[in-house]
Subunit: 578 residues, 2 copies
Amino acid sequence: MSDRVLRINMTTGTSVFEPVPDAWAGLGGRGLTSTIIAGEVPPTCHALGSNNKLVLAPGLLSGTRAANSGRLSAGAKSPLTGTIKESNAGGTAARMLALMGIKAIIIEGRPEEKKMFGIHIARDKVRIVETDLGGSGNFAVVEKIVAEEGGKSGVLSIGPAGEMLMPSANISVKDPQGRVRSLGRGGLGAVMGSKKIKYIAIDPADAPGLTYADEASFKEAARVFAKALTDHPVSGEGLPTYGTNVLLNVLHEAGGLPTRNFRTGSFDGHEGISGETMHARIEERGGEGRVRHACHPGCLIQCSQVYPDKDGKVMASGFEYESVWSMGANCGIDDLDALAEADHILDDIGVDTVEFGVSIGVAMEAGILAFGDAAGMLRILKEDLSRGTPLGRLVGAGAECLGKVYGVRRVPTVKGQAIPAYDPRSVKGMGITYATSTMGADHTAGYTVTSNILNVGGTVDPLKKEGQVELSRNLQIATAAIDSTGLCLFVAFPVLDIPEAFNAVVDMLNARFGLSLTGDDVSSLGASILKTEREFNRKAGFNEAADRLPEFFSEEILPPHNTIWDFTDAEMDAFWDF
Amino acid sequence: MSDRVLRINMTTGTSVFEPVPDAWAGLGGRGLTSTIIAGEVPPTCHALGSNNKLVLAPGLLSGTRAANSGRLSAGAKSPLTGTIKESNAGGTAARMLALMGIKAIIIEGRPEEKKMFGIHIARDKVRIVETDLGGSGNFAVVEKIVAEEGGKSGVLSIGPAGEMLMPSANISVKDPQGRVRSLGRGGLGAVMGSKKIKYIAIDPADAPGLTYADEASFKEAARVFAKALTDHPVSGEGLPTYGTNVLLNVLHEAGGLPTRNFRTGSFDGHEGISGETMHARIEERGGEGRVRHACHPGCLIQCSQVYPDKDGKVMASGFEYESVWSMGANCGIDDLDALAEADHILDDIGVDTVEFGVSIGVAMEAGILAFGDAAGMLRILKEDLSRGTPLGRLVGAGAECLGKVYGVRRVPTVKGQAIPAYDPRSVKGMGITYATSTMGADHTAGYTVTSNILNVGGTVDPLKKEGQVELSRNLQIATAAIDSTGLCLFVAFPVLDIPEAFNAVVDMLNARFGLSLTGDDVSSLGASILKTEREFNRKAGFNEAADRLPEFFSEEILPPHNTIWDFTDAEMDAFWDF
């Protein structure tokens, strides 16, 4: 059975399976979502209007036996940034769609009714039904669909934030345990909400499965790839043991941990919220806590942590470094339990934790609450954000909007999206990535922390300018390609350090599709995706002057290294010389 | 005595009179503010940061005996739009500065202290003093300065909105009666607030006055110019009798009056708020009401109206069409007294009435209050905007921000600034002006209502595309020049229709400065100003795709003419072919 594209029109309430156009054949994940958005969405359209589209696409290797290949990409014009946007996450949906032969779901139009709808996708049948789940949190949605459709169903959903069209609203995807992962950044949950889709339920029964052009070669390449993942110290040990929050102490020590809205690069309360503390508390509290937890089937890294409360009940699942940082160090809060409580609520109402934490940091800068006020943050979360009060809406609109409304000068955003957990003044490669990414500030777009901090894939001094543009460029190109495979970005650690791992990825693509790609072809794919995305942004109104960091990074010296952002415009623009 | 530039540094609290650089010699008003901003302000700076500057400049003819030459320009990078910005108003300050030989005031830097300051400018002396007027409304500021410095003082001030750094905050300037006019658009009050300047008091005593290269010729040209102003039916009769609000019924009849957030082009409640009704009520209530009122000395048009309450006390002064429209038809409100009350409060707290009314229209679209709810609008104004609650801050941030926060698709803004009182679908020349203006949506930038509606300067069918780009281009070029002279834009009515009037303006410039400019030179000046402004915007991050109207104008048909916005991108971009 050939792969298909499922096109759903929410204006008419109709759907159709279409053959895959030849031009899309070699594309998956981000490569496919960005190609479709760039090809079908008018760049100056309103992101919440009927001309925007929401595209969901598993990666090229999703559904295969390749380890860590279960990422699902979502693409649209972003209501947060106004740029093209791709966001990806684990969970169970990517594998299901791949095995069902659905290469992409394109959701277009929007209904005029004030109702919410659910979409049920089975092998050859799509049903669009009215739902009374409007207003429910993501956990209740997953619970109800599991109760009605069985535990094997895939679920994508939005919480109240997406229904309220908040620019920081995310899309949740059910994980193997029935909890949720987040397609976090850029407000794609609001795009889904604008189309009045509360959930998409996937029934994987009778999926035709997928075929390999050369199954034996695939198996061998997948074995080499899996071995590299478990052999590398970061993916094989650091991440599994401490989760992504292993980075908190590392960045604190490196002086690159943005603290109290990017005032310093180290946090005096780091011990309270570090990966080591989280690990110890999970072990000590036991119960439903889990140190190693896979966010999608086939994950060997298992960096997701399930954090229990004092009674051993799940408090937060998928409790990541970026969330701990944004609401913790960035807000001067060192109470890990408070962060876990907030993380869980954000997962339920469906809001990006990075954007939320940075917005709260800006609210603290504005004097709405004090740095370190964990109770105040939880109060805003419960009484304002969840309920959609004016203040809650403002926080949900993201850091840039909040900063504009309160006249704040220190607003850490690029193209309207909050800067994540690495200060660009002391992890300078990340500054280049934030400034130039087609997505607005995004750490995953070109994660120079590898060579800047972790000595993976070489070493580039994080405090100096030398080599940062090239490093970010190479990683952004490679990442665009990896984001197209369905592989988790954390495979980059072995891929950057172990030549066999990189070759194995190319070999898997060739064995799966009967191709003879080289490593250069994969790089070309990545470069081509970036250029497609940039051209969309240009047509949406962004020129090179939008590829800049906020002014205060060039004016305020960052302790403890007393560094500053010192790239010239020409140096930043040289990023695009490829 | 030669003209001087007064440069005030608010970081150091110092000031200096400087000679006028040669390059600025032939510039005044907007030409001067835009040249200085483009030359001295980094385009990507934060508009509220220390690198932005606030420039105040009287026009080239300000201070002379030329009628209607008392406009003061203010320029800065706008916190509302992120573009370059010039806003001008009447009042008494422009004439005073011109007579004191102050060609421009450049205010730079910002103090770190949380205090507010007042600046006292006398002939050769500048004092920067701490003030306890922080939190006061503009009327109280003017009253106090008049009490302390005498009624002849000039005053520029900001209200609480400017102190709160609201992107819609304006700068007030004292009028001949001690009431205020507004440098309204683009949030220049927030720039003044960011520099902690509550007021600027001008002591005109001992002003050296100005000289004429050829006084006799100037007198003669000024006489011809004045005669044209009083002879033309619009400036000589329509505007004096009914004020700018004469336009309300005209636009209603033309189907170009944006109603209920741009849903229709005519308003069923138009009679309640028309210029004719306003006129009758002023006559009927009497008391302090005034039909003909000059906003600055030497004004012959006297279109400003003083609207009295039932007891004859002043309720609103300078009660303009754009304000009546924005809060009236645009919000479905037909209660003129409610609009007057709102107008007065907005003048006092210092908020642009256009941005406020359009923001309330968007709030109504979002369901925060109902269309037609005058009491609700006044409640938000008094309890939220004035006090800076989260909702008040949101409204004060302008329509685009409010729309983003509430997920509204129908948000009438261009480059972040609210579209004013002429629907671009049925007054198509205005659509070209809104889209292409360097200032964001701005009716004054190229007021095609002249030929589109009033048959002044020729006739161009408002419902058709033909001729609109050329019309807007010619008017935007001419306006940039007029905005440099200090002449009120309403002189355009006779200037466009009466050749002698245009020649008289050129003659006055020549006679004042001993030049031999031609009409073409004046056009070249206008074109050059536009290009300087556009280049600033390009460097600030805006490309041609920012020169677009919101999508809904191209999708929703506007009754009663059932017109739509149908210009292609290429047609709009052709505006810049000069």
